[in-house]
Point group: C2
Chain length 345, copies 2
Amino acid sequence: MENLTERYDRILNAIVSSYICSAEPVGSRTLSRNAAFKLSPATIRNVMADLEDLNLLCQPHTSAGRIPTDKGFRYYVDHLMELPELPETVQEKIRMACASHQGNMEEMLKDGIMALSQLAPYVSVVSLPHFNQATLKHIRFVRLNDRQILAVMVSGSGSVQNVLFEMDTVFVQDDLNRFSNFLNQMVDGLTLEGVKRKIFSQMKADKDAYDSVMSQVLRLSQKMLDQRAGDDSEIMIDGKLNILEHPEFADLDKMKQLFRAFEEKNIMVKLLDEAQKGEQLQVFIGVENQCEEMNLCSVVMADYGQEGQPMGKIGVIGPTRMEYSRIIPLVRYTAEVINQLMDNS
Amino acid sequence: MENLTERYDRILNAIVSSYICSAEPVGSRTLSRNAAFKLSPATIRNVMADLEDLNLLCQPHTSAGRIPTDKGFRYYVDHLMELPELPETVQEKIRMACASHQGNMEEMLKDGIMALSQLAPYVSVVSLPHFNQATLKHIRFVRLNDRQILAVMVSGSGSVQNVLFEMDTVFVQDDLNRFSNFLNQMVDGLTLEGVKRKIFSQMKADKDAYDSVMSQVLRLSQKMLDQRAGDDSEIMIDGKLNILEHPEFADLDKMKQLFRAFEEKNIMVKLLDEAQKGEQLQVFIGVENQCEEMNLCSVVMADYGQEGQPMGKIGVIGPTRMEYSRIIPLVRYTAEVINQLMDNS
DNA sequence: TGTTGGCGCTCTATGCTGATGAGTGCTAAT
DNA sequence: ATTAGCACTCATCAGCATAGAGCGCCAACA
């Protein structure tokens, strides 16, 4: 979208801002009274008509004020809005929330999105680091009974995952401890994917020596990896109830649709996966969202994770009429805080 | 509530049944047409007036039909309804759902309530076994780094709990393995509460021998127990969206209130804790619920766990206009299936 | 040429009206 | 004890008029 003249910018800006506050269509009189620009309603009407031709505004019905289209919001986000610094109190609140569970990744993220949805009347989501891609720090096997074994895996970032699986051979705990130690040396620093590959190739090389420690470790590991459902995308959501405050979802059907989407994990996964281009922070407005279920919503999303190696995404979902200028810094800052805390641990 | 004559029973029964199906007030004509009893509308009106005097029925407004009061539903549940056997297909479905994750308590319960809320248009809940009360089968310590240690506890019923804590002494994994073995012998078969007590008394007895294995194990355990938040009531909910289908929650405010209650864990804990009298299956209708938030709902709840030693509760929440005669057998059967699967494992 | 005031038009929201129908309570007859 | 009949109440809905917000267009003006 090319740029507009300054007058058009100012009027569009005023309309979007007003609509974000009030959720009501904005009329030319109202704008004119808003003394900032000394133009008569008629002049403003002309401008509005032009903006409507450009598909930046639309009317719910003849003789109503204008409301921004998704494209209008897009133009606002790209060209018009200002991003004020977050107040120190807000920054403080986010830092405190995330720091309260340092070392425990999952808790930290949970507190992070909880803070987000307290600071803004929207829904916040976060995807947990894919365990598959995380570097492993520990694997330990615990014997539950003759058949069942529990594997406990800890990633570099402190996430813990338990896998329960069964073996037809009986092991005693001391064996398992030895296997654990052995495996730990072998996998240290690899990702789970890497471990899979390594084990697979070792299996081939080693397939004759059925009784060696190595061989037993490999069998154990493979059973464990088989048991793990391949895709462990985990997502947490907070502040679902906030959505009920917004008039655009007062309609029961729209609300149902949205809540259904929140419940369906794969929809949410798809939503968060949309942004992959390595952009640090992305905004999807209304129909820009690939999932139809979210076509009435906007999503502000940021990557978290080490530089160049994103581990997950954190974001906020709200109506297209969202306070972008407040939410964008909020999401960005939260992602930064998470990054810092991860580095320190 | 004392008994009524048979005619009153039959009419009340018909009204409640009809209202459960239709959610509409029931008028005397409709009932009269319902040829089962050959009475004129006028006669039925007289009976209905009497039932209203007894507070079993009420009218939304003059000249509307009658709807049952909470007390009316209670009388229906206690005296009138019949509990048909569950169809074999339904039993099968529940068994399959629960059995699919045998050995993993949490997954089994999750699948159980998922089945419940697919078989009935209501919300189902389950409280996980209190880890505090479960008998322990294993404790293992995993070294994460110089300070951090991860404890993995497995209960007799197969629940797993991870606790991350810090020590100021540095241990190597081999030490921790020895401690694990030691502790396992000491705690086998005790509940976590029992372990706490045992450790506390041993600490006293042993406080001089600071360096002994025993002493180190005790310090480790205590740190771990301190770290665990005292109350680990966990609750899972499924089928929240079902509630949206019922006209009694078409009103946005009522719906918000209910969803708010679902989100607030302590409200749900309180709800499930209400039933403690050792009754195997309990029904709470409308205002009988202690939590105000649930005064428009009924709750059908059953204990699961070994005979005489309940481990948790499983239940269904719906409008007071709930299909009690279907839900009660459903909840009861699900609890039984869970019990059986737990015994087998 | 850009801006403005004025006029007529459109559409929504609101409130009033009367008709309709479901359902009741009461009474008198069976 | 039961029933038929009648008058009454109340919610719901369609129909209609009114008020008000807001627009587009046009002619006048700087």
